[in-house]
């Protein structure tokens, strides 16, 4: 018995190693004929977040991510089956480094922060 808005949406996501990998920016539910809708994916990313404010903002964010080669312009989807625990944070059975969630952090590191001495 859970509440998607209260307990999941906008919560902190952590991976297997307790890294902060983002927030639950969206939740995708699959509608089915004759059966209750199934909670399918968690969506994470700038595009998902932007879409909540304004569809045009989302398109702009997607174009930016494509141009900087951070992503293909689509938010990242985590299958609900990967959710291990919903508590103070939402723990997912993933490793950050192996997913596109690390793309923005990597980009900033490569292009900006990493180039400053002493990082």
């Amino acid at each position: 018995m859970g509440d998607l808005i209260r307990d999941v949406l906008d919560k902190q996501l952590v991976d297997r190693n307790q890294n902060s990998i983002g927030k639950v920016d969206g939740i995708i539910v699959a509608l089915r004929e004759g059966k209750p809708p199934r909670v399918a994916y968690i969506e994470v990313g700038t595009v998902a977040l932007a879409r909540r404010l304004n569809p045009r903002l989302a398109k702009w964010a997607a174009a930016l991510e494509r141009r900087l080669k951070v992503s293909e312009g689509e938010p990242y989807r985590i299958p609900w089956s990967k959710v291990r625990e919903v508590g103070i944070d939402v723990e997912v059975d993933l490793e950050w480094e192996k997913t596109p969630l690390i793309s923005w952090e990597k980009w900033v590191n490569e292009k900006i922060i990493g180039r400053i001495p002493g990082a």
């Binding site: 539910v29 199934r38 909670v39």
Partner: protein, 103 residues
């Protein structure tokens, strides 16, 4: 049977009408339960749509305000099979407002 997908975070702001076109409210929460290895939506919680009522519901977080009767609002529970999401921008309840379970 192809599944169609909806973003529930985008449903939050949408107004839900009933069979007769009357405003029931705004989707506030999605109650889920575990069915086997799937997490499914059991029912939807509908809250006030009018801005003033929403603000007073927000203030209901203050015990002080509740003393003055601010924060009491009408909520409806809609079972998953009573909700029609074929047009996500215009969610509809498949019965009359009065037939819904009230909170």
């Amino acid at each position: 049977m192809a599944d169609s997908e909806i973003h529930i975070e985008l449903l939050l702001s949408r107004r839900v009408t009933d069979l007769n076109g009357e405003t029931v409210g705004r989707i506030e929460e999605f109650h889920t339960k575990q069915e086997g290895d799937e997490n499914v939506i059991e029912e939807y919680l509908l809250g006030p749509y009018a801005l003033l009522e929403r603000l007073s519901a927000l203030a209901g977080g203050f015990r002080l305000f509740r003393w003055f009767g601010i924060g009491k609002t009408r909520r409806y529970k809609v079972r998953w099979d009573q909700m029609d999401l074929s047009d996500p921008k215009r969610p509809r309840v498949l019965c009359a407002k009065d037939d819904l379970e009230k909170l």
